[in-house]
Amino acid sequence: MRHLLTTAGLAREDAIRILDTAAQMAATQERETRKLPTLRGKTVVNLFFEDSTRTRISFEAAAKRLSADVINFSAKGSSVSKGESLKDTALTLQAMGADAVVVRHWASGAAERLATSGWVHGSVLNAGDGTHQHPTQALLDAYTIRKHLVESPDGAGLDGLRVAIVGDVLHSRVAGSNGYLLTTLGAKVSVVAPPTLLPVGITARPELEVFYTLDEALDAHKFDAIMMLRVQRERMTGAAFFPSPEEYTRMYGLDAARMARLPEQAIIMHPGPMNRGLEISAEAADAPNSVIVEQVANGVAVRMAALYLLLAGEEAAE
C-alpha cells in the first residue's frame, strides 16, 4: 500500500488487514511502555491546511508511539482566501525529507493531487479533503463497530450488520468514506438526511438505502450502530439547506426517545466534535452504549496501523 487516499477503491482484504493490524496496535497500547521502535528514523509530516487540533493530535500520537519523528505544518487558507500554495508547501517539505505526509485540506482531491503530482516522494495519507473522503475516520469507525458487534473480530468483516449514518451526508467526508468502507466490509448502510443534504448522485448507489426522516429509518430496521454526523449551523439559515436548528433536531436528532427504540446491542457513534442538543442529545452522547470517547482512542490505533502499513515495508517510497 503506497498511499491511503480513499476508501472507495480499498479492497476488502486490505481493509481487514488494516483493522487486524489496528487490533495489534491497540494491544500494545495496554502496556506500560506504549512506545514501539518500529518506525524509528522515519519522518511523518502533518500538513494541515484546515484547523483540526483533534485529528492532528491523533496522528501525532500515532506516529510518535511508533517512534517516528513528527513535523507539524499548519497553513492558512480556505476556498475563499487561497492562502499558501499546496505545491510550494509540499516541495518545501519534500526538501526536508518526509517519508509520509498526512494531509488535511479544504479542497476535495487535494490528497490525490499531492500523491500523483510528484511534489512529494513519500506516502500520502488523506486526513480529510474537502467534502470528499476521510479514510482513517471510516476505518476507526469500522474498527469500533467490529470490536463491539463481531464475536471473533480478528480477520472478520462487518457482514450482516446494519449501520445508519444520520445527518449532512452531502458535505460529510466521514459519510463519504464510511459509505464505501462499511459496504465493502459487508454491512448494510442506510443514510438518513433531508433531501437538501443528500448528493444528487446518491441514487446511483444502490447499496445505500435512503431515508428522509430518522423515525422512518428506525421503523424500518434494527440498527446495530447509529452514526450521528455533526451539523454545521452555518448551513442552516445562511445557505438555506434547512429551515432551522430546532426543526433539524426534531426530525433528525438522536434524543432519549429515539435511543430507546434502538436494539440492545446497538452502539451510538459520532465522529466529533459534537453539537450536544442539536444532532445528539446529552443523554445519547453519555449513554452506556455510546462509544464516542472510545472512537478517539481507536483512532490512534488505526492511525498507527495505517502508518505502519504505509511506511514499514519495502513498498515504502524509494
Binding site: A110, G130, T131, G201
Partner: protein, 439 residues
Amino acid sequence: MSSTAKPVLIENVSLAGQVNSNLLIVDGEIAEAQGSPIDAPADAIRIDATGLIALPGLVDLHTHLREPGREDAETIESGSRSAARGGFTAIHAMANTTPVADSAGVVEQVWSRGREVGLVDVYPVGAVTVGLGGTQLSEMGAMAMSRARVRVFSDDGKCVSDPVIMRRALEYVKTFGGVIAQHSQDPRLTEGAQMHEGIVSAELGLTGWPAVAEESIIARDVLLTEHVGSRLHVCHVSTAGSVDIIRWAKARGINVTAEVMPHHLLLTDESVRGYDARFKVNPPLRTQADVDAVRAGLADGTIDIIATDHAPHPDEDKDCEWGAAAMGMIGLETALGIVQKAMVDTGLMNWSQVALRMSHLPAVIGGVADAHGLNLDKGEAANITLVDPSAPWLVDPAKTASRSNNSPFGGIELPGRAVATFLRGTPTYLDERFEGLFA
C-alpha cells in the same frame, strides 16, 4: 510573417471538401478560382495543395486574449499567433480583461493593438454592464461607434442574471444591430460550483454545477428576446436541455443563435476523476448524454457555430488542487482537429458544414460578414485556411504559440489540422512543409 507582393497559386485544392479547384491570390484578393489549371504569372509562389481542403478563414466568436491586464497568461500578439496557427483569420476578444472592455477607450486599444500585430483581425467584444457588475449598462453605443465597431456584447465569465438588465440590454442593442452573447449561468444555483452536478461530483466531493442553472437562463433569455424583438446569442451550450430549449425557440421563430465549444463535443465529467485541473472549465464538462445531444444539435443546425472559448491561464492557476484552480482551457490550435475528430470523421458533419459553422455563420453573427466567412470566389478577399485532414498529430500543450499551456488534450491524437492561413493574401501561418516557399 512578412507580407508578400508575389502572387500565390494554390493548386489542386478541395474547396470545402466539395470540388477540386485552383486559386490565384493577387494583392490580397482571389483573382481566379476555377477547376481548370490557371495560367499564373511566372513569379507566382506555387503551393501544391493536393489532398488539402480550403476553407474560408476561420472566425472565432469567443476568444480570451487577456490583454490588457493579464499579459502573463496571454497577449494580443501571442493570442493572434495561436489563432493563426489554428487556421483563424478573425477572432472576437472577450471583454473580461483588466480593465474591463466596457468603454470605447479600452475596445479601441484592443482593436488597434490587433491591427498592429496584423496576424488576425481582432474584433473586441464589449461588456454588457460596467465592470461586468451586472447592474449598470455599459456605453454600448459608444463602443459600437468607436473605431472598433463593436457589435457583439457579452459579460462572458459572468452571467447577466438580473432579468431587467438583460431585457434592457436586449432592447438597447437593436439601436445599432448588435447582439448580446449571454454566458448562461444562474449565479445563485452555482455558488462555489466546481464541476457538473451528477454522479461523479457526488463521488468526488466537488460542489455541483447543475444543468438547470444553464437551461433556466436560456429559457428566460429566449422568451425575453421574443418579447422585445431582439437578437440573442447563447455562448458555450453544454447540456441536452439547452439544445432542446434552443430548438424550441427557433421553431417559434425567435432570433437566437448558439455556439458550442470543441471540448464539449469530446470530453465528459468522467475526465474530472483524478482532479487534474486542466479539465476544469466553465460551463463544466457534462455527461455523455449531453455530449451526444450537443453533437446532434450541431449537426442539425440547432447550434449554429463552433467557438473556442480559448482561455489561457498561467501554470500556477492549474498546477494545484482543484478548488484553487482557474476555469478554462486554451483551444485555438486544437479546435479544428477536435471538430474533425468528433464531427467530420464520425459522419455528423462534412467540410462544407465546417466552413459554414466555423467561418461563415460566426462572421454573420458577429457582423463581420463583409470581410470574413466569404465563399472562396473570384473577387473576394483572400482569407483562406488550408487544412490537411490526413495529418495525424499528437497534441503537446508545451508547443503552442499561446503563452499558456493549459490544454487538457495533451497526448491525444487529432486527425488533421490547419497547415496554412492567409489573411487577405498574406500567409500568417505556414506549416513547416511550406518552409522556404515564402522566403
